[in-house]
Symmetry: C2
């Protein structure tokens, strides 16, 4: 199963590399780091990642992964990107997003009527973008059909472990969490940060 990780300027570091540390331990997954034009992408943490240019068509059974970060503040108004994203979501078997990545998805309308969450520190901005989404304030992550959305930054690790559990069983996810010496918050509605709303 191919996982396409969509990178853009000022993506949030842990939004990407928390889930990557989970996915990278699953031998059935192949990870691809992509951006609109390819080349090196930097973020505000000065992380330089080499990317391939985005494919026009996803292979069968692909997963689309979209992080958040300050870069989403500009990208929500980038029609070319949102249009491309809309087409990619339609092709993907699963679509996963962390943090303010849900702002980008909300702009495609593909979240309309769906149970969705996002970063609690950017909640009012994200939810203002589309009032047709069933925004869930108290959720570490949400699953609705083939869509997985998570709260901010580190919540992506919990969601990624849930994705592995859904595909390959909870024992496998626990094994990965233990390798990471990570205490998995495995209850999607146990959200310690929703009280900051």
């Amino acid at each position: 199963m191919d996982i396409f990780i969509i990178l853009f300027d000022d993506f949030r570091t842990l939004d990407v590399f928390g889930p990557v540390d989970v996915f990278g331990e699953i031998k059935e997954f192949t990870l691809h780091y992509c951006s609109i034009n390819g080349g090196i992408i930097y973020n505000s943490h000065q992380v330089p990642i080499m990317t391939q240019s985005l494919p026009l068509k996803l292979p069968y059974n692909s997963v689309l992964f979209i992080p958040g970060g300050m870069g989403t503040r500009l990208l929500v108004d980038d029609r070319v990107f949102i249009c491309w994203l809309d087409k990619m979501i339609a092709q993907a078997l699963y679509c996963l997003t962390v943090c303010t990545g849900s702002a980008l998805l909300a702009k495609t309308k593909r979240l309309n009527g769906k149970y969705v969450t996002s970063n609690k520190n950017a909640w009012s901005w994200v939810t203002s973008l589309n009032n047709q989404v069933n925004w869930q304030e108290k959720a570490r992550w949400c699953v609705d059909g083939h869509l997985y959305t998570s709260s901010g930054v580190s919540a992506g690790i919990d969601m990624a472990l849930c994705f592995v559990a859904d595909l390959y069983g909870k024992e496998r996810a626990i094994k990965v969490a233990n390798l990471m010496e990570y205490v998995w918050n495995d209850h999607s509605h146990n959200d310690p940060f929703s009280s900051s709303l």
Copy 2:
């Protein structure tokens, strides 16, 4: 303050990018991604990161950061690398390591007599490398003078937050943890994974 992040083939993803997500939020820090020869470094999670070649001399007040990962299994026997590392540690104001990065440091002898921890899944291998180190089995992380060592993978985030707290106060570290929506395990001896020994 400059933080030099030392990368090598098969470094562990979250060992690096967990702490980077913390350090990247501290405006006083500048992050540098380095490797022996520079260029793109890959790991087993297929992460392609662009690096500068390692400096021969660290700027005044620098921090050296060394991740772990499967790549350390080869590097412990790389005399050129260990010799270079030894010289860098001597110049650094602080030296931080995550996971099996402590195996590399142990080979330099700079951990001799120091309170140190490491990954609990690789404990017997790491501790076998140097019996002059005060290896601490039940520790999420350890601080001994200018040396910070942590347990496996996600423990690096807890240690990085402690480093920020030590330099700039606990309130600042809590603020970063909240931005990351991360439940900081702020007790260095609260180690949920030591029981697997």
